[in-house]
């Protein structure tokens, strides 16, 4: 069990070069080695880093995985996506708590265990899942939880737990060019160096590759503009935050195709003239950290990273580039590229004012390319096989293949690689989801489609997606799906702008009110108004899309809402009779006259 005094603050700070820009990484290591980030640590860090304490506290209090109170020797966080719930998460969590005699969100009396929920951890194909001290355990059932409970009772250090608990299969069900073909590390780089930066950019242009992180911005345009931008240094950033619930395709790329991803970053570095790259890995993927570091080490040894890559020299000298991994700490908003950069710079993950965009003013205010993991993997393949090959796949507006992460009510959840243009219906057949009733495409911030729309296609021109594909059968309650997503957004709002900070909580509260059977048509209308404010006035994509699940399910599955409405006009949110409960307790009365009439 980690004791507070094993926390070697000066060592951690030195490892991160005494640079406050690395504050999130420093805090993360403190949290991991001490189990908490106590108040006096903030003062010591302020002194060691020579920055005001208030700035350290801002960052420390922003991220969900940092906390000042002890969570014991074992912190258990259950993934709380709707998919986990459908797979029995709530009952299993209760079972687990009963076995260990504890209550959620309360440190056990012996100071050993703490249990809580966390946002989706990228294992929807193996739900329900949880994190133990940051390490993922998938496919929970009573047997596995019994084992975990025993290990905790025996106070076994995590390192001695059976490795099979932490095994996470890729679940690749339909391979394609990215996931099914062998890739020889260095192949794309050799082609790039032989071709030259200009010609490589031209291949990227020809390929028609568009970003795989959701927005679908043309990659060649981003690289070209970053390349042109002036700065003291250029940076390549790989967005491996993969926080959108139901998305887990980057997990597989990082686990089994990391060379492709790192090579894509290196190709980008060559094109834009960068010497440093950063991979921002979501904290939930802690289990991949060591493996990725060893891939980087291997690539350095093979001359594919570091000084004088592949011994190449030209009129500008050698090609130097290296990659550093930063871990996130439980904040979905850090997937938004400018919030991600803030986080890389040691700050709370709050989106910046744009323009300027990162291609001109990104990491350390220098020109920076931010791309998704899958985008870099595609870039490596394009560098290797040429732009025309890639452009020939998919549709004219959506070139190439797309990894789809399928979860929920289907027989074969996992990752499927399709050429763009595939219909939802085809995907449902392939994954064994014949009785699907609804699909949430691209996660809570994406699009909810009903069975009437299954002929729609996965493509930027129809259903754009970052990769999530959550299937719901006829038995599922689409109201509960939307309510779960609404809780997610309220929890993940960074709080910077008024509409989202307040609006997401208003939505969550209204959905809870409806769930308690206290809602009316007035509330439904209110939620539409809040959606209008969020879409128009929020500062970033999180706020813009936060009301989508509610409004779309309201439109497509009105019956899920109607059956919950108490009456069709107004019902106050304030429960007057409930408020009298304290008075009843104090006076010891519970007779008819101590209650308000319920009409």
């Amino acid at each position: 069990m980690p004791e507070p005094d094993v926390c070697d603050l000066p060592g951690i700070v030195a490892r991160w070069h005494h640079d406050p820009t690395n504050l999130v990484q420093i805090l993360r290591e403190v949290q991991e080695s001490c189990g908490t980030i106590p108040s006096d640590t903030l003062d010591r860090l302020a002194a060691l880093l020579n920055v005001p304490r208030v700035r350290i506290e801002s960052t420390a209090s922003f991220y969900a995985f940092f906390h000042a109170e002890s969570h014991g020797a074992y912190e258990i966080l259950f993934s709380d996506n709707i998919i986990d719930r459908m797979a029995g998460k709530e009952a299993l969590k209760q079972y687990f708590c009963e076995r260990l005699w504890l209550e959620p969100r309360k440190l056990s009396e012996d100071g050993l265990v703490y249990v809580d929920d966390t946002a989706d951890i990228g294992l929807a194909d193996q739900a329900p899942a949880m994190l133990v001290n940051g390490y993922a355990i998938p496919s929970l059932d009573k047997t596995r939880l019994d084992l975990v409970a025993e290990l905790i009772r025996a106070q076994k250090p995590l390192a001695e737990w059976p490795p099979m608990l932490f095994e996470i299969p890729d679940n690749i069900r339909k391979p394609g060019p990215l996931t099914g073909e062998a890739f020889v590390p260095g192949a794309a780089l050799k082609a790039t160096l032989a071709r030259g930066a200009d010609a490589t950019l031209a291949e990227m242009e020809t390929s028609n590759l568009r970003g795989r992180g959701g927005a679908g911005f043309k990659t060649a345009t981003k690289w070209a503009s970053c390349r042109k931008a002036e700065g003291e240094a250029h940076y390549v950033v790989c967005n491996a935050d993969e926080g959108e619930p139901g998305t887990f395709k980057d997990r597989l790329l990082l686990n089994s195709h990391a060379d492709l991803v790192f090579e894509g970053m290196t190709v980008c570095a060559r094109v834009i003239g960068a010497r440093q790259g950063l991979l921002y890995l979501r904290g939930e993927y802690r289990n991949l950290h060591e493996k990725l570091k060893s891939v980087l080490a291997r690539r350095r040894e093979a001359g594919l990273l570091g000084q004088n890559i592949l011994g190449h020299t030209d009129e500008n000298g050698g090609f130097d580039f290296d990659i550093e991994i930063h871990l996130g700490a439980g904040a979905y908003i850090c997937g938004e590229e400018s919030a991600l950069i803030e986080s890389l710079e040691g700050k709370p993950g709050k989106p910046r004012n744009r323009p300027p965009f990162p291609d001109r003013c990104g990491y350390r205010n220098q020109p920076t390319v931010v791309n998704n993991v899958e985008t870099f993997a595609c870039a490596a393949k394009i560098a290797e096989r040429g732009g025309a090959w890639f452009a020939a796949l998919g549709t004219p507006q959506s070139a190439g293949s797309k990894l789809i992460s399928i979860s929920g009510d289907c027989q074969r959840p996992g990752v499927y690689e399709y050429s763009f243009g595939v219909t939802v219906r085809q995907i449902l057949i392939d994954c064994g989801a014949e009785d699907a009733h609804a699909v949430q495409v691209s996660g809570p911030s994406g699009t909810c489609i009903s069975f009437r729309e299954f002929d729609r296609r996965i493509a930027f021109e129809d259903l754009a997606t970052a990769g999530a594909f959550m299937v719901f059968s006829r038995e599922r309650d689409m109201f509960e799906v939307a309510r779960n997503f609404t809780h997610f957004f309220a929890h993940e709002s960074c709080g910077f702008c008024t509409p989202c900070r307040v609006g997401t909580s208003l939505l969550r509260n209204t959905m809870d009110k409806l769930a308690e059977g206290k809602g009316s048509a007035y509330d439904m209308n209110e939620m539409k108004n809040i959606m209008h404010i969020l879409r128009g006035m929020a500062h970033c994509g999180l706020g813009h899309t936060a009301a989508n699940p509610v409004v779309q399910t309201m439109e497509k599955f009105p019956e899920a809402y109607e059956k919950r409405l108490k009456r069709l006009d107004f019902e106050p949110a304030f429960d007057l009779d409930g408020a009298l409960a304290t008075a009843r307790l104090i006076t010891g009365r519970d007779d008819e006259w101590a209650h308000l009439a319920d009409d």
């Binding site: 005001p52 208030v54 209090s61 702008c497 008024t498 900070r501 307040v502 609006g503 404010i533 500062h539």
Partner: protein, 239 residues
């Protein structure tokens, strides 16, 4: 040739690099705002200044003016949305105007008057927020904080002190101060700091000055905020 853009049909001149808000203010046109202050770096968080820029919505305080741009601000739709934002700010905190020392000089209240706010509309959150009376001269009333970060910017950029910051996230975001105890008294805050007077609401107030000017005789008791956008900045326009 000076460059110009059009705001609600009026031609507004601007200098290269100016925001829509700056150019509009210089031309005497009011765009509702709370987190903007002419002396500080644009922040863009309250979103009250949202305008339509060639059909796309954006914050006037962070978007740069550009030649020939068509901007709409005083539309019924935008003012309705601004009203909703103001109501959101009211319900997320605890604002009891009749008993607040800042009443009449408060920009939140004045914007609410300006937009014709009659009710808070949304259900109140009634958050539990701390009041900090530890400092001899300055009172911190977090119930009234709207997280505009003007005090954060003033303390950092003008006073060079970093007394204030924002902690937490989402609806739990809160004003924090630079001391281990969390008390204002244990920071190097001084009553003469710019941060002590920049708060648009009654969240940071100087002690013993609350009622020097009686309620009823205060700035926004007699002037719409459109005439005097920033208390103490300019003399109110007459006429």
């Amino acid at each position: 040739m000076t460059k110009t853009f059009v705001l609600d049909g009026k031609v507004i001149p601007f200098e290269e690099g100016e925001t829509i808000m700056e150019a509009a203010s210089a031309a005497g046109v009011y765009i509702p705002h709370l987190c903007h202050h002419p002396e500080f770096k644009p922040h863009g968080s309250c979103k009250l200044c949202t305008v339509s820029i060639g059909g796309r919505l954006g914050a006037a305080c962070t978007n740069k003016a550009a030649e020939g741009m068509k901007v709409e601000s005083e539309t019924a739709a935008l003012n309705a949305d601004r009203l909703a934002l103001t109501q959101m700010l009211f319900v997320e905190g605890n604002h009891v105007c009749p008993s607040c020392e800042k009443s009449g000089n408060c920009q939140l209240q004045a914007v609410a008057y300006h937009l014709g706010m009659l009710t808070p509309h949304f259900p109140h959150f009634y958050p539990a927020r701390d009041v900090d009376a530890s400092h001899p001269d300055v009172m911190l009333e977090r119930n009234r904080c709207i997280l505009c970060e003007l005090c954060v910017r003033a303390s950092r950029d003008i006073d060079g002190k970093n007394v204030f910051g924002i902690g937490g996230r989402g609806i739990k975001a809160r004003l924090i101060v630079n001391s281990a105890s969390g008390r204002l008294a244990d920071t190097d805050m001084s009553v003469t700091d710019r941060a002590a007077e920049v708060c648009p609401t009654g969240a940071i107030i100087r002690k013993r000055h609350g009622f020097t000017i009686p309620i009823g005789k205060r700035l926004y008791d007699h002037h719409d905020i459109a005439e005097v956008p920033v208390a103490g900045m300019k003399e109110p326009k007459r006429g």
